[in-house]
């Protein structure tokens, strides 16, 4: 029963996991970046499922570009992580609360 709705539900759950990854993670920033990857993966699965069930290639092209962007984002994210580590000495999310109020 490989139906469209099943795929959507799997993608939704994966999306939820990605979001939960950001919310419940109190410690390292890398986990945040990975959760973002998870979210993008969920969206891609969603799109591919739609394009498969509507035999319209546009969705897959969209996924193609999303992958490119995800890569670019990951690059910048890790660069910022390096800067953060260099200035702050730690990548602990809890330590990033000097800007508040």
């Amino acid at each position: 029963m490989m139906t469209l709705n099943a795929f959507l539900i799997v993608a939704a759950i994966l999306f939820g996991l990605g979001m939960a990854g950001i919310v419940i993670n109190r410690k390292n920033v890398i986990a945040l970046l990975m959760s973002i990857e998870l979210i993008l993966l969920a969206v891609n699965t969603n799109l591919i499922a739609f394009s498969y069930y509507m035999n319209d290639i546009a969705g897959q092209i969209f996924v193609f570009f999303i992958l490119a962007i995800a890569a670019a984002e990951a690059a910048i994210g890790l660069a910022i992580l390096m800067v953060l580590y260099r200035t702050r000495g730690t990548i602990n999310v809890g330590a990033m609360d000097t800007l508040k109020g």
């Binding site: 950001i22 969206v43 799109l47 999303i66 910022i80 200035t87």
Partner: protein, 469 residues
């Protein structure tokens, strides 16, 4: 061969950016001024091209994924103007600080290119790519000045929140694709009302609200505004907001007109939340940048009033006018901070402005105009912005919302006049007059005078905004 005429400004911009990267490579920062003048020339050039293309009929190219219509051109023109001011203000600031000079200009120009594309995107893929193109460089810009301890943290927060928001927006777009079968905006707008569409609408609205910095999704605004160097905050608070207007018009007005009642309801909630939180949280702030951050959240709330009033009550024109006047005011406010801290010392606290009237009366007067305009006091453009937004809300019989908005405006006016109080009523620590280079005073005076003159004769500006819809 797709029609490249509508893309002329973008092409010009991209080629100029590459040219700037190459010149920087050759000059190896011997003559730093060249990059600045090149960037200003790029903006000026694009302005000329867009102005030339303004009167052309509505053309779509690249198989309806890129559209050139008066709205897009107008938004682009305002992006150029605000960026021109951003560069003009932050030139000294950037050269004083130890940050890669050329990269600052290049990344900003890339972000502007992204905004130009975003504003005239007519296909979800182009829209999303343009959105990413406009935000990615800003993540880097925020962390560019590695001396400041906060830059990295602000940038990381902005990155994570930004990625999350774009993920949500993507999810919305994918559901929209799923429900309507196409990625093109015009086709989506023809599809009938459907619950899945509403489901997708919420996700998209969250993405837009994040980009604007509206209330429940505003958490990044205060930290990023304070953490980033003031010059970059100046950029963040002006140009991206106009691009976000483009995003909002494309996604809400062009793509989902049929869901107007739904997103009107959501916008009412968002605007009340933003006005309330923005105005109330800003009262006890002592850091000027953080205060202006909260005030930007509040102003977005007012702009949403225009958006939700719909086309019949000329709400969109009022929202557009509000956004242009807000950008002008924000440039004035942060511009002053940039001028004051261009000598190396960071001017952030309200108490740093103490007694500015006796140190430099003209600058203080300009800041006074900007502050009163933000509070919405008549002789300034801010008043007419608020007036027309409220007028359109009253037009659709939401008088209670207009009253609530004004009550928040009064609460909000406290912290603006508090800054005026600090500037005018208190004695400065050092009696030495604040000498500021002429071109920066000229920049500030232009902004101040525009706030005042547009406040006195705003009819041409509002007609411009009306003609676009």
């Amino acid at each position: 061969m797709p029609n490249l005429i509508p893309l002329l400004p973008e092409i010009f911009m991209l080629s100029m950016i590459c040219f700037i990267i190459l010149t920087d490579l050759i000059l190896r920062s011997k003559k730093p001024g060249v990059i600045y003048y090149l960037s200003q020339f790029t903006l000026f050039g694009s302005f000329i091209i867009t102005a030339y293309l303004y009167s052309s009929p509505v053309i779509t190219s690249f198989s309806q994924s890129f559209i050139l219509d008066p709205l897009a051109s107008l938004l682009k023109i305002f992006i150029y103007i605000s960026s021109f001011f951003v560069f003009w203000f932050s030139r000294v600031y950037v050269s004083e600080r130890k940050m890669p000079q050329a990269e600052y200009y290049v990344l900003t120009l890339f972000s502007i290119l992204g905004m130009m594309l975003l504003v005239s995107a007519h296909n979800f893929i182009v829209l999303f790519l343009a959105l990413e193109m406009s935000t990615l460089p800003v993540y880097a810009l925020v962390a560019l000045w590695n001396d400041s301890p906060y830059g990295a943290e602000a940038s990381m927060k902005y990155f994570v929140m930004g990625a999350l928001a774009s993920g949500i927006l993507l999810y919305g777009l994918s559901m929209l694709y799923g429900a309507t079968g196409t990625l093109d905006m015009v086709a989506v707008s023809q599809s009938p009302h459907d619950l899945l569409l509403v489901f997708a609408l919420v996700f998209i609205l969250v993405g837009i609200a994040f980009k604007f910095g509206a209330a429940p999704f505003h958490s990044w605004v205060p930290d990023v505004y304070t953490g980033a160097p003031t010059a970059i905050t100046l950029f963040i608070t002006s140009a991206p907001k106009i691009a976000a207007m483009g995003l909002a018009f494309r996604l809400l007005v062009d793509t989902m007109p049929v869901l107007q009642p739904e997103w009107q309801q959501i916008l009412i909630v968002l605007s009340i939340a933003s006005m309330a939180l923005g105005n109330i949280a800003a009262i006890i702030q002592t850091n000027l940048k953080r205060m202006f951050a909260y005030s930007s959240v509040a102003h977005i709330g007012y702009m949403f009033l225009g958006l939700l009033a719909g086309q019949t009550a000329h709400g969109y024109a009022a929202a557009l006018f509000y956004m242009f006047s807000y950008t002008l005011m924000a440039i004035g406010a942060f511009g002053l901070l940039v001028i004051l801290s261009s000598k190396g010392i960071e001017v952030e606290e309200i108490s740093d402005l103490r007694g500015l009237n006796s140190r430099n009366p003209w600058l203080a007067f300009m800041m006074l105009l900007v502050l009163f305009s933000m509070a919405g006091i008549p002789p300034t453009v801010g008043f007419f912005a608020k007036l027309w937004v409220l007028e359109s809300v009253v037009q659709i019989h939401l008088v209670w919302l207009a009253t609530l908005a004004l009550v928040f405006a009064i609460i909000g006016s406290y912290y603006y006049i508090n800054v005026v109080k600090v500037m005018y009523f208190e004695e400065p620590d050092t009696a030495a007059p604040f000498v500021c280079p002429d071109n920066l005073t000229l920049a500030m005076s232009v902004v101040g005078m525009m706030v005042l003159i547009l406040g006195i004769i705003p009819s041409s500006m509002i007609m411009l905004c009306r003609s676009v819809f």
